[in-house]
Symmetry: D2
Subunit: 345 residues, 4 copies
Amino acid sequence: MIGIAVVGYGYWGPNLVRNIAECPNAKLIAVCDLRAERLTAVSARYPGVVVTDNFEQVLSNPNVDAVAIATPVSSHFQLAMRAMMAGKHVFIEKPIASTVEEAQRLVDEAARRNLVLAVDHTFVHTGAVKKMQELVKDGLGGVYYYDSVRVNLGLFQHDVSVLWDLAVHDLSIMDYVLNERPVAVSATGMSHVTGQPANIAYLNLFFPGKLIAHIHVNWLAPVKVRRTLVGGTNKMIVYDDLEPSEKIKVYDKGITVSENAEAQRQNAYQQMVGYRSGDMWAPKLDMTEALSSELREFADCVINKKAPTADGHAGLRVVRILEAATQSLAQRGQVIELDDVRRVA
Amino acid sequence: MIGIAVVGYGYWGPNLVRNIAECPNAKLIAVCDLRAERLTAVSARYPGVVVTDNFEQVLSNPNVDAVAIATPVSSHFQLAMRAMMAGKHVFIEKPIASTVEEAQRLVDEAARRNLVLAVDHTFVHTGAVKKMQELVKDGLGGVYYYDSVRVNLGLFQHDVSVLWDLAVHDLSIMDYVLNERPVAVSATGMSHVTGQPANIAYLNLFFPGKLIAHIHVNWLAPVKVRRTLVGGTNKMIVYDDLEPSEKIKVYDKGITVSENAEAQRQNAYQQMVGYRSGDMWAPKLDMTEALSSELREFADCVINKKAPTADGHAGLRVVRILEAATQSLAQRGQVIELDDVRRVA
Amino acid sequence: MIGIAVVGYGYWGPNLVRNIAECPNAKLIAVCDLRAERLTAVSARYPGVVVTDNFEQVLSNPNVDAVAIATPVSSHFQLAMRAMMAGKHVFIEKPIASTVEEAQRLVDEAARRNLVLAVDHTFVHTGAVKKMQELVKDGLGGVYYYDSVRVNLGLFQHDVSVLWDLAVHDLSIMDYVLNERPVAVSATGMSHVTGQPANIAYLNLFFPGKLIAHIHVNWLAPVKVRRTLVGGTNKMIVYDDLEPSEKIKVYDKGITVSENAEAQRQNAYQQMVGYRSGDMWAPKLDMTEALSSELREFADCVINKKAPTADGHAGLRVVRILEAATQSLAQRGQVIELDDVRRVA
Amino acid sequence: MIGIAVVGYGYWGPNLVRNIAECPNAKLIAVCDLRAERLTAVSARYPGVVVTDNFEQVLSNPNVDAVAIATPVSSHFQLAMRAMMAGKHVFIEKPIASTVEEAQRLVDEAARRNLVLAVDHTFVHTGAVKKMQELVKDGLGGVYYYDSVRVNLGLFQHDVSVLWDLAVHDLSIMDYVLNERPVAVSATGMSHVTGQPANIAYLNLFFPGKLIAHIHVNWLAPVKVRRTLVGGTNKMIVYDDLEPSEKIKVYDKGITVSENAEAQRQNAYQQMVGYRSGDMWAPKLDMTEALSSELREFADCVINKKAPTADGHAGLRVVRILEAATQSLAQRGQVIELDDVRRVA
C-alpha cells in the first residue's frame, strides 16, 4: 500500500482521485490545487484527505510516497522534478512534458534516483488496446501499416496544436502496440483561426523497414471518428473506439505473394499476388476501467520496484515525435529525423 | 446525332458501348479491339456495329465523328493523337495520359484543331458529386479542408501505383468541386511487394490560402471506405459513396470566431472560438447513371462546339498532380511545386 | 419554489435527488429509504437534507410540498395514496402502478384533492421525442404506422415481464407522440426460463382508423436496438436512440395514391400508386437532460396549478395497455378490448 | 445433362435463362412466353434456343426433360400440372402455388409420377443462409426465437399482399433453417390504400416447444432493413443481408440458468440467471450465385433421382403458412392452427 497525492484538481484530476480512492494497493493522502473552491469540493467528497494549495506541504508529507500530476503540461516538468528531488515517485498526465529536453531530464532524474516515473497513457490500459498489442505481437504477422483517424468537432485549444491534444493518444497507443520504432517524421496541417495553433494535421511516421504509419487529427470535423487500421501479413485489425462493444475486429484477409522465381523474372504480376479473405472475429475485451488498472499497476511498480507499461521512456518517445512533427508542420512537411530531436546540450 | 467508335473492349469498354448504344444524340458506329473474341462478343450483342482490329479503319470511317478510347493508359496518347490528326473528337478513359507532357500535347492538339477533347472523369457526372459541387459553390462558405479516404482490399496493379489507380478518382472529383487549384503536392507511401508500385499512399495538396487537402488510398485495407469530408466556414459535408441513398450529408456545424479586438489582443482564446451545431440534411440526389449523362454531354459538346465538364485541361491538371505525387513519394514526401511539373521543352 | 422529498434511494432515486438539488424552482427537503447505508450516502453528498427511514415523518414535514416516489412498483399505490391523503403532490416512477385499478384510484384521488399527479415517463422530455411529437402533430400527415424495437441482452427481471420493463417506454412515448388512442391490444411472447415472466414479447395495438402500432421487446437479443419507425402520409421518421447525435431522421418519402376514379374502377393499380423520395433531414435536438426539464415542469405545475405533460391519465393509459397485453400474452394473442380493462367495481 | 425449357421471360425468367445457359449439367432448350418482343430478346441473345408462345410445343419437345416456370403465381398450378402430365420435371418460382390445395395437388402429382418438383426458394442456396442452417444444426443449441424484419419503400403489388411478396422469403428461409415446424399462425396488418391488399404485416408463428418466431414485412418503410435474429441457448446469430460481406455474425452470448434447487425454491432469481458475453465471429461465406447452385442441384436431382433442398413439400409448407396468415390477418390476428389449413376434400 502506497500513499499518493494528486496535484491539480481540474478536468482530469477528479478521475485520478476517484480511482486512487478505490485502489486496493494505494491510499489517497492529499490533493493540492491553487483554487480554494476545488479543494472544498475534494473535502466534501473525501473528508479524510489532506487538502492544500502548497505543493511543498505535499512534498514534506512523509505519508506521500508518490505524486500524481494533473496540471497543465507547461508545469509538468517543474512539479515532477521537485517531487523526485523530494524522493517521491511520479505519475504524470500525458504528454509527459512540453519538450524533449524536459522529458529527457525527467527520465534521467528518475533513473538517477531509482524512482518510478509513469506517464498517463490511459489508452494502453484499455481492453481494446491491450488486445491489439497481443494480436500484433502474435498473430498479425509482419506489420504493413498503422493508420489512425481521430477527428471530431472538438474543443479548440489555444496553447497546443491538435497534434499535442489528439495525436498524443495515437502516438502513445502506437508506441505500445508496435514492436518497431519510427526513425523520422513529417507533418502537414493548418490553423484556420488566425494566431492559433494548427487545428488539423496529418502525420507521417517513417520506419527502418516496410512499415508505414499515418495519423489524421482534426478539431473541425462534422462527424466523430476514432478508427485505427493495422495491416499485417497474416491478419488485419480495425479498432473502432466508438463501437460500444466490438471495438476490435480482426480480419483474416490479406495478400499472398508467390515466390515463383520465373513469374517474378517475367514480371507476370497477375500470377504473383493473390487475395485471401476469411473469417472476421471480434474478440471479447476486458472492460475494466483503464485508469483503475493503470493506477493499480503504478502502485505495484512502486512497491515492487518495477517499470510501468508506460514509463518515462515511453513519454519521452511520444514527446520527441510531437516536437518533430510540430517542427515539420511549420516547414510544409519537411522530414525530421528523430535522432536530431534531442536534448540541447 | 454524332457517330462514335469505341477503341478497347476490355473492362470499361462494354460500359461505354452500352451507354453509347442507348444515347439519344449519338450512334455507335464501330468497335475496335485487337482480340478477335472480344469483337465476336460485340457482334453477338450489337449486330449492326462495325467491328475491326484495325484502328486505321476506324479513323477512315466517315461516319465516325468521335473516338472513345478505353485502352491501357500507356496507349492513350498515341491513339488520341492519331484520332485528332484524322479530325476526330476524342473521349479518353482516365487518366488522360501517362505523363504531363503527353497530356499537354493532347490539350494543345485539340486546341489547334478545334476538336473536343474529353476525359472520362466519371464521378463528376454522378448526382452526389454534382450536388457537392453546388454546395461548395453556394452554401459551404470558404473551404477549410478537403479530406478523402479510398481504401479496400483491391486489385493490385502492376503497371501503376495506387495513386494512379485510386487517387485519380479523388483528384478528378476535387478538381471539379473546389474553386481553388493546388500549387504544390507531397506524398508518402509504400510498396509492400518487392519490385511493385506503391500500394498505400498519402497525398497532401497545398493551396495558396488556408485550404488544405489530403487523400488516403490503399489497396490493402480490410474494409472498404469511400469517404470524403469537406469542411467549410458555414457548413460541412460528408460524402460517403458506399451509402445506398444518402451519399451526401450536409452538417450545419462549425466554429464562430469572435472579432473582438480586445480579446484577440489578450489572446483570450476561449472567448474567441464558439461552436455551432444545427441540423443535418441529406439532399435527394440525381440517380441517372453517370456515364450516360457524360456521353450525352460529350455528344452535345461535339454538336454545339462546347467544352465538356471534364475537358483536356482537367485531365492535364489531374495528371500533373499524379506525376508530382509519384515524384514526391520516391523522395519521402519532398514537396513538389506543380509549376515545376511541366512539359519538357 | 416548492419543497420535495424523495422516497426510495436505490437505482433511480439518486438521479431524482441530483436533479432536484439543481432545480431552480424546487428544493430538496428530505430523502426517505429503509436502508441506513443509503441514507448515509445521501448525507455525505447533501449535508443539509433530512434523511429518514420513516415515511410518516416525510408526510408530516410542512416544508414538503411534493413527494417523488422511486420505490419498487408494487409499493407505488400505497405510498402515493398516503402522500395525497397528507395533501402532498406526487411524482411517481413509471409504471405509475401495478394494475389499472390502482392507477385509476390514484387518478381519482388526485382529481378529488386537486393535487398534481405526475408519472415519470422520462423519454417524453427528451429532445428526440419532443421533436417527434412536433413532427407528428405538424408535418407528417396522417400516421400509417408506429413500429418500435427495443431489444438487448438485458437484466432479466423476476417480478415483471419484459412488457412492464421495456415496452412501458415505448407505450409512454407512443401515448405522447400519437394523437390517436388504441382501442384494443394483442400480444404474444415467451418465457425461456421456467417459472419466470416472458422475456420476449410482440405487442399489437389496434386503432379505430388505419393506424397500426407494433412493439417488439426482448431481453435476450445479441445486439442492442432502440429504433422506432413512424410512417405518415407526407413524411416518415426513424428515431434511433442509440445514435449519438442524429437520433431523429425525417424522410420525405412516401406513396401518392391517384384519385383517378376510372383507374380505380378498373383496379388499374399500377397507375394508382406512385413513390415519392426526397431529402432526408435530421433536425437539431434539444440536449437538455430530460429528467431536469421534467422536474422543473413538475414544480411549475405545482406552483401554477397546471397539468404535467405526463399526468396520471397518461400513466393510467399505459398501465391499461400493459395489463391488457399481459392478459393477451397468456392467451396466445387473444385480442383484448381496452374498454374491457377497467377498474373492478 | 438435362434439357430445360423456361416458361415466362418477364422479371425473373431472364435470370433463370442466363443461369441455365451456363449450367454444366443442363442445357437450355426452349423459352416460352406469350409476348413476341420477349421472344425476340431471347433469340438475339441465345441464337440456338427454341422460342415459342405455345406451351404445348414445349411439352411435346422430346429434348425438354424439365420445365422451369416463372410466370405469375396464379398460373403456376395449371402450367406445372400440364408439365408433369407430359412427364416433365418441374422447377417453379416461389410461391409454389396460390393455395394450399393447389400446392398439395402438385406435390401429390409429382409423387405419383416420380418426378422432381422443386420450388425456387432462392435464399436457401445463398452462402449466408446455408451457414445459418449449419449453425442452427450444430452450435447454436436449442433455438429460443427467430425474428425477421424485411421492410423498405417497395413496389406495391395489387394482386398479393406484402405477406405473399416479402414474408414468403422469410418463411422459406425459416423452413430450411429451423428443425422445428410451426403448428399455428397469427397475423396482423393493414392496407393503407383502399381496396388493395395489406402493405404492412406482422406474423407470429407458434411451435410446440418454447421456440417463438415473428416476421415483420412492410412496403412502406423509409429505410431498407433485411435483418434476422436467431437466439439459441449457446449462441445467437444476426443475419443482415444488406451487409456487403459480413452477412452472418455469431455472438457467443446468452444466459446461464442455475440449476440450484434451493435458489429456485426461494425464487432467488438474481442468483439463477447469469449472462455470458464472449467473442463475435463472422464466418466467411460461400459467394457463389445462389440461383446457379440451385439450378445445378435441380439438374442433379433429375439425373440422380434425388429430392431437392426446396422440394414441393417445402413449397407447400410455406403456402400453408401464407394462407393461414392471410386468413388470420382478416380476423385481427385470430390464431389459425396449421392443421386446419388443408386441402378441401
